[in-house]
Each structure stands twice: as C-alpha cells, then as structure tokens.
C-alpha cells in the first residue's frame, strides 16, 4: 500500500506550525508571576555573572539601600553590587565566604535611607 503524497500547501502549513511550536518551546518561561525575591535574585546573579564573576544563582541577598546590594552566590562567594553616580553597575568581591564562620549579628550595618 503506498501513502498518498501530501499537498505542498499542507506540508508548508505543517512545517510552519512545527516551527512556531518549536520557537515557543525555546522561549524563556514567563517570569510575570514569580515571587519577588526570586526575580531579584535572578537579576543579581545575572549582574554578578556579567562582570566576569561566576554566579550560577544567588542564595542570599541583602539590600543595603536602593541600587546597592550584597549577594551570596551558590559558590559561597559574596559580592557587592551597586550603581555609582554615573549610572555604572559595579560588582566587587567581598571578603569571606559561606565556608568562613559568620560574624556576629551585632556587626550588622545600620539601615540607611534609599537614594
């Protein structure tokens, strides 16, 4: 039994549909309704990574003030991420890591007002 040839128009339509489905599947899943801290940490990990420091994910973060953060990456390394007066984003490694003993909570910085 031989199969009937598929009309060219139908073949093109099928190919188009497959391409559309494939492209849709490749797109990043929408982050519209993720929890706020998940969104923040994803951005921070990206920012650290962009400056050449490996950071697959951020496991902790502290917002010191607006546009100024301290982050702890899954590697155990800590960084400060902030925006300077010229609008440049800076990333600076901080001393210590998860492997170091945490310093006492009494050493916490004072909360400061946003910029």
């Amino acid at each position: 039994m031989s199969a009937l040839p598929m009309p060219a128009g139908l073949a093109r339509a099928c190919a188009g549909a497959l391409l559309a489905v494939g492209l849709a599947a490749c797109q990043t899943p929408p982050a519209v309704s993720l929890p706020h801290h998940v969104l923040v940490r994803a951005y921070l990990a990206d920012l650290v990574d962009m400056q050449g420091f490996a950071c697959a994910s951020v496991v902790e973060h502290v917002r010191l003030r607006r546009l100024d953060y301290q982050v702890l990456c899954d590697s155990g390394r800590a960084y400060r991420v902030w925006v300077d007066a010229e609008g440049r984003v800076n990333v600076e490694p901080l001393v210590g890591s998860l492997r170091a003993e945490p310093l006492p909570l009494s050493a916490q910085p004072q909360a400061s007002a946003p910029v």
């Binding site: 797109q27 990043t28 929408p30 982050a31 519209v32 309704s33 706020h36 969104l39 923040v40 951005y43 921070l44 990206d46 920012l47 962009m50 400056q51 697959a56 994910s57 496991v59 902790e60 973060h61 502290v62 917002r63 010191l64 003030r65 607006r66 546009l67 100024d68 301290q70 982050v71 702890l72 899954d74 155990g76 800590a78 400060r80 991420v81 902030w82 925006v83 300077d84 007066a85 010229e86 609008g87 440049r88 984003v89 600076e92 901080l94 001393v95 210590g96 998860l98 492997r99 170091a100 945490p102 310093l103 006492p104 909570l105 050493a107 916490q108 910085p109 400061s112 910029v115």
Partner: protein
C-alpha cells in the same frame, strides 16, 4: 525538582548574618558610604533622551552593544515589567509598588551593565532617564496614557 543543593550548606539565617556582617567589614564599606549613596547623581550629559520604556527597547534594538539573543532577553524583561505594572494599576496586588520599583531598578541595572562599556550614548541616556521613567510608570494616569 527541588532547588540546587549547596555544598556545606548552612542555615539561611547564618548566610544572611554573614552577608550583613560583611557589610560592616567589606572593602566597599571601608571605602566610604558616600560612593554608594550618590547613585545616579552625575549621569553623563548626552544628546537625546529616552522618554519611555518602548523607546529604550527601540534603542537597544538598534544598538551594536548588545547581541541578538541578549536583545530578545532584555525586550522580554522590559515587557514583563510593563505587564506587572499594568496588572498593578488594574488593581492586582501580586507585587507592591516598592517591589515593582526594585524590579524596575534591577532591570535598568541589567541594561546599564550591558551598555556601560559599549554604547556610551545610550548608557548616558538610560542614566538620565532612570528616575523620570519610574516617575511615569508608577503614576497610574501617566502609565495608562502610554500603555493603554
């Protein structure tokens, strides 16, 4: 699938304590508070201005500083922030306004980091537009004018 396991993982409070403690002893802190507190106070003077997020997206599209994949990613991120703000102004309270501002700031940081060494003009425009754009986005009336 759960979150990625950490080697030598410790309780979250210990990590948070470390981060907070680092703030008191880290080199950035030792260098002086004012360096950080003065964010966006000295944006470069450049020609042209960005008046809304769509114009920023258009600028990114035409910039050689950002690769194609990155352009798509940033455009998606811009659209998501607009969608969240649209939902907020329509009455949804999934995110508070301060949370939305933080998400906006982080998006702008993400874009600034991509531009700062490669497209000085667009980076300068972004720096100058950072606060005015948020001012428009957080205002329901002005937001609806632009995005309805």
């Amino acid at each position: 699938m759960g979150p990625k396991p950490l080697r030598h993982a410790r309780p979250a409070f210990a990590a948070a304590a470390l981060l907070l403690a680092l703030g008191a002893v880290g080199p950035a802190r030792a260098a002086g508070e004012d360096v950080h507190a003065a964010a966006l106070q000295a944006c470069p003077k450049v020609k042209g201005e960005i008046v809304d997020l769509n114009m920023l997206a258009e600028g990114l599209k035409n910039s050689n500083a950002v690769g194609l994949f990155e352009k798509l990613r940033l455009k998606t991120a811009i659209d998501e922030v607009i969608e969240r703000l649209k939902a907020f102004h329509a009455g949804a309270r999934r995110y508070s306004l301060p949370e939305l501002q933080e998400q906006y700031d982080l998006l702008m940081m993400r874009i600034a980091a991509a531009l700062q060494d490669k497209d000085v003009m667009l980076h300068g425009q972004l720096c100058n537009a950072w606060e005015p754009l948020w001012s428009d986005l957080q205002d329901r009336g002005r937001f609806k004018e632009k995005f309805s």
